[in-house]
Symmetry: C2
Subunit: 302 residues, 2 copies
């Protein structure tokens, strides 16, 4: 049974197109309307038959939607919320998929009309690929979707959005937006920035060519390049909109790295051994929690 | 046709056991002799039927070997070279698989007897798993093996070791030890230390529980945990034995990270966008070079 009659997706990149696919495949809604600022992206989505209605203007697709999800970079959600505000259906739910939540609430909440429930959401899932062709219907299976409802959201709307994301395959957690942003700063934003930084440092070396970096990347470097292949616009916006939490994690990371650097400089093998020993268990727990596959080298050599 | 009659492997962890497997599978040598300091590891290797002869004392297995390969952490190669020195067969080749080369040469060269060719080697391949049970025969396929022959090694011995590693599936590059150590510092040692450091930083947070880090690790963090699950003894030794090159790469990385941190603090979106844009191409090149699989998320979701 469908959770909604019509859902409207504003933005149809990796996440938006994956939602479209899983909604269609599992009949979670009867009608899928899709908007993208770019005509080319919209044409791609239509060629992939991801939805029923398409329009570059989000105002045109939200009218009678029961659920509207913004699937854009987090820097533009305020502008979009303002534009569609007067066109939302009374009793509908408006949500998003962004990797930051405090800023999303600050940007969108002023534009939410009475009678519409605003429930920010973040499906913690993704790949390094961008665009409608790279989505897939199982992206959210067994991944966590975090809801950070604002105070005036109705319990029934929260329950409905929970049903929706469960139908998409996700486990649900509810928490406040500030805590979400701190967790994601360490579990997603820091690893992302570090990956960009490692690849940047390697790219800058004068005495080692890029072709050498590429040839010998199987020694570990290639791992970092996956995250570093992610969409620059999306990540620029995350940095700009989760600044304080990211700066805190960068500061902690740098302090810890200085301690490690000091242990290398002073050839303090015992300290290095201790630092390298306590980390193994965390991967084991991630695998046991079903958030990572249990094969070596991410299964590349299978 | 076998490249050697007998090879002796001193150390039978991931790399040693993978060599044993590929040598057996492709008949690269007629006899495989295996040594491990640990009786338990040796029993494991024997239970897996990885070789023909087994002894905890390396002296007992090198006697009539045409090729001796040290597959131990790089901190103990000097001691082993000294112990086996008087027992090596004239005309034989002695080599290793370590991720540092200058220190290996310093440690081993004084103990190499006349009439034996010492050719340091480094197959740039591996996984995060340790021990004889995790090796596999295709580990070296299409990976690079770097030889860093010392000046007095004979051309024919270098050619023979090249044949050996090609038979194991590798591509061969020959370079000097100093250059090798710089390349590996950026393509392997730095990513490894950074991975340990990210996981350590996450483990230390007071306001976010480990269970939260684990649940939401699919946002990027889980990638870092693969390298951080690697063998602590091996990596302690790499740090102690490639200190200068690692310190240089850590310094460069930290400088670059400070610049990125500054861009986040000053909300300099253009600089962040530029930093995040130039990295995508490197992954593309690594995939094109056959050093990475061409599927998103390392194929986890296939």
């Amino acid at each position: 049974m469908a959770v909604f009659n019509k859902i409207a997706l504003i933005g149809v990149g990796l996440i938006g197109s994956s939602i479209a696919r899983v909604v269609r495949e599992r009949s979670i809604a009867n009608i899928i309307a899709i908007s993208s600022r770019s005509q080319q992206t919209l044409d791609e989505a239509q060629a992939l038959d991801l939805g029923d209605d398409y329009d570059t203007d989000p105002v045109k697709i939200v009218n009678d939607a029961d659920l509207v999800i913004l699937c854009t970079p987090v820097g533009v959600v305020g502008k979009i919320a303002k534009a569609i505000s007067g066109h939302l259906k009374p009793g509908s739910i408006i949500s998003d998929v962004g990797s930051v939540k405090v800023s999303i609430i600050e940007q969108m909440l002023p534009h939410i009309p009475d009678g519409v429930d605003f429930i920010p959401a973040h499906p913690v899932a993704g790949t390094e690929k961008s665009g409608p062709s790279h989505g897939f219907s199982t992206l959210f299976d067994n991944r966590w979707c975090i809801l950070t409802p604002v105070q005036n959201a109705s319990d029934s709307a929260v329950a409905t959005l929970k049903d929706f994301w469960q139908a998409c395959g996700s486990n649900i957690e509810i928490m406040d937006a500030e805590h979400h942003d701190k967790i994601l700063a360490i579990t997603s934003h820091l690893p992302q920035l570090i990956a960009y930084n490692i690849v940047g440092t390697a790219d800058d070396l004068e005495t080692i060519t890029n072709s050498e970096v590429i040839k010998y990347s199987a020694g570990g470097f290639r791992d970092s390049t996956r995250l570093a292949a992610s969409d620059p616009t999306m990540w620029r916006d995350v940095c700009l909109h989760n600044k304080e939490a990211i700066l805190e994690m960068l500061a902690r990371f740098s302090e810890d790295l200085s301690a490690m650097q000091r242990a290398v400089r002073w050839a303090d093998g015992d300290t290095l051994f201790d630092m390298f020993t306590r980390t193994r268990n965390i991967r084991r727990q991630i695998i046991d929690a079903g958030q990572e596959i249990d094969v070596s080298n991410f299964g590349r050599d299978d």
